[in-house]
């Protein structure tokens, strides 16, 4: 009796809790999802094992369906899937957001129903099979081959490989990471060979999805006059969001939320200075935490980059320099960094501050940019040609996992999308983990 009452009580408590959401972000959905998850009633979690709601937002290519289904099955019961602007949803979703009622209210309501038993928990989409078949394989049925090799008990067996750092060859294991790993650019999938937490080999299997929501005013400016203030605020918001993502990799979830909320305030024109954000950034020691010289691309690779990443490496290329309106505003590109991770972060912060100052100075000046405009991640033109590929793989080789995550977070999606995958995405072996 007492047990039943307690269980009942626990269910009621659980139903009222913040909704643990694991977001799967597709094409052009990242900013929207981040803004949604900055609602205090929702809690964006780092692992699918901690979530109750799988939020699938934006379009996803169908060849990632198996990855997504596996991710879905990793959520513990009770669980539910919500699709948001994903038409058609790549996996069956019991909840569709965006029909009138606000998405966060819909998620809260569904989560409550889930724990009160008024909504069925979703069953597995894939048969319960080991990530790599192992039972019955090998002489002891453990999936291994002799002393080395094979996939004993479903995990790849480590094999000795060369160490790039001090030539102590330890055992290395190859795993696929992504495409839905939290704190990674959504869609990015890498095949990594790890020794401990050191990446000894990296190959790009799938580039991150396009995220161009913030570029809408810039594309509009190619055709019609748009207020400079609007453009510059959008640019500042983009940079603040990028910094927020980096802060998350430094375990600063509260500050990340602050940056995202401020980014939204910037777009709405409610914020005129980034003084307090800069103070928090400095106080947190985020730049000290990564130090200098991490993730510096070669000179050739730097030349392939665009926008802030290029300017962080010292080049003063900025399409705004030659525009008469910007010249009148006294615009000078911010540049002169060392091209490493810390200078890319500093670049974002400095450019965001500069953009806000420009937005203030411009007032309601409007301008048109028929020949192309400097977007938040690089020049935007009507007839955009293929951009040159650069070598992300060797940039990541030799880094520790945490260093790799920091480096990845210091590039915008556009830069990562320039890298050509080692294997066509559709053909890449379907990996094992989220």
């Amino acid at each position: 009796m007492a047990v039943a009452a307690l269980t009942q009580r626990a269910h009621h408590c659980a139903a009222a809790a913040r909704v643990p959401v694991y977001p799967v972000v597709g094409v052009d959905a990242r900013d929207r999802v981040e803004t949604l998850l900055s609602d205090p009633a929702l809690d964006s979690v780092a692992s699918p094992r901690q979530a109750a709601v799988l939020l699938v937002a934006g379009a996803l290519p169908s060849y990632l369906g198996t990855d997504l289904k596996r991710l879905h099955d990793q959520l513990p019961h009770p669980r539910t899937t919500a699709s948001w602007c994903a038409e058609p949803p790549p996996i069956p979703a019991s909840l569709t957001l965006g029909n009138g009622i606000s998405p966060s209210d819909a998620l809260v309501a569904a989560h409550g129903e889930l724990y009160l038993g008024r909504r069925e928990s979703e069953s597995d989409l894939l048969p319960d099979e080991p990530p790599a078949p192992w039972q019955g394989v090998g002489e002891h049925g453990q999936g291994g081959e002799g002393m080395m090799g094979g996939k004993p008990f479903g995990r790849p067996m480590a094999m000795t490989g060369q160490d790039p750092r001090d030539a102590l060859p330890l055992d290395a294991v190859t795993v696929d990471a992504g495409p839905f790993l939290s704190t990674w650019p959504p869609g990015l999938k890498l095949r990594l060979t790890l020794q401990g937490d050191v990446v000894t080999e990296a190959a790009l299997l799938h580039p991150p999805f396009r995220q161009t929501e913030i570029e809408a005013p810039f594309r509009r400016a190619l055709r019609e006059p748009v207020a400079i203030a609007e453009l510059e605020r959008a640019r500042a918001a983009h940079h603040l969001r990028a910094l927020a993502r980096f802060l998350e990799t430094r375990e600063l979830r509260a500050l990340r939320m602050r940056f995202i909320r401020k980014a939204d305030a910037v777009v709405a024109g409610e914020l005129r200075t980034l003084e307090s954000l800069r103070r928090y950034f400095r106080l947190s020691g985020a730049a000290l935490a990564i130090g200098r010289g991490l993730g510096t691309p070669t000179e050739g690779d730097c030349a392939c980059l665009q926008g802030p990443a290029l300017r962080a490496a010292g080049a003063d290329r900025d399409a705004r320099t030659d525009h008469p309106v910007y010249r009148r505003l006294g615009f000078r590109p911010v540049c002169g960094g060392r091209g490493d991770t810390a200078s890319r972060l500093g670049q974002w912060l400095a450019e965001a501050e500069q953009s806000l100052a420009l937005a203030e100075a411009a007032g309601d000046v409007r301008a048109e940019f028929p020949d192309g405009i400097e977007g938040p991640t690089g020049p935007i033109r009507d007839a955009a040609g293929e951009l040159p590929s650069w070598d992300l793989e060797s940039l990541l080789t030799g880094l520790e996992w945490d260093e790799m995550v920091a480096v990845l977070a210091s590039f915008d999606v556009a830069a990562l999308r320039q890298v050509r995958p080692a294997v066509p995405a559709e053909l890449a072996d379907q990996g094992e983990h989220s």
Binding site: G138, Q142, A158, A167, L170, D171
Partner: protein
């Protein structure tokens, strides 16, 4: 049987069972932590024996050692849980016989000899006594242990670091020539005729 007796037998059993399982499991991480369990049980027995400092110090030291050992296992064999079943035992009969002989030989001593029953005074402060002994009468022993540990640290760093006397130790290391670019000085190791890629180094 008092509570202390019961605790002693239980802990003794844990120490022995865990110690034996160390050599019977096929995962080296498990082996490390089984050994740690054995040490923790022995440390707890020491607490029962009123050796408070030694008991906790044993647990403390062994926890560090075994965690590092487990880390080494993962470093050299990065396999999350359980290795491929492997038989890493040689001369098992001889080893078992030697083990039993060692036990029997040692067990005979307490059983046949009549030791005086002079338990330590539980009211006395054994930690202060140990401290006074270490920095008093047995200062020399204590200091030699300290110097030995220092030498160990230096030796361990030199042994495990990459650089040998004449360059990276994993490359064949040879002394520099007498004139620039000349033949290496010193006696030439015999192996050089057999295997050029693997010239004499300091590990031979």
């Amino acid at each position: 049987m008092t509570a202390i007796d019961a605790a002693f037998w239980a802990l003794g059993l844990i120490a022995l069972a865990a110690g034996y399982r160390v050599f019977r499991t096929d995962s080296m991480v498990r082996a490390s932590f089984l050994l740690l369990a054995s040490f923790v049980a022995v440390g707890a027995i020491m607490l029962l024996l009123a050796a408070e400092y030694l008991g906790f110090a044993t647990i403390f030291m062994m926890a560090v050692e075994m965690t590092v050992m487990a880390l080494f296992m993962v470093m050299f064999m990065m396999n999350p849980a359980g290795l491929n079943p492997m038989n890493m035992v040689h001369q098992p009969r001889l080893a078992a016989a030697a083990g039993i002989a060692a036990f029997a030989g040692l067990a005979v001593i307490p059983l046949l000899t009549d030791f005086p029953d002079r338990p330590a005074d539980r009211q006395a402060d054994p930690i202060a006594a140990l401290g006074n002994e270490l920095l008093g009468g047995s200062m020399l022993i204590f200091e030699s242990a300290g110097v030995t540990l220092l030498a160990t640290m230096i030796g361990a760093v030199i042994l495990s670091s990459r650089s040998g006397r004449y360059g990276p130790s994993d490359h064949g290391s040879v002394p520099p020539g007498l004139e620039p670019g000349g033949e290496p000085a010193g006696r030439r190791p015999k192996s050089e005729q057999r295997d050029h890629s693997d010239g004499g180094g300091h590990a031979s």
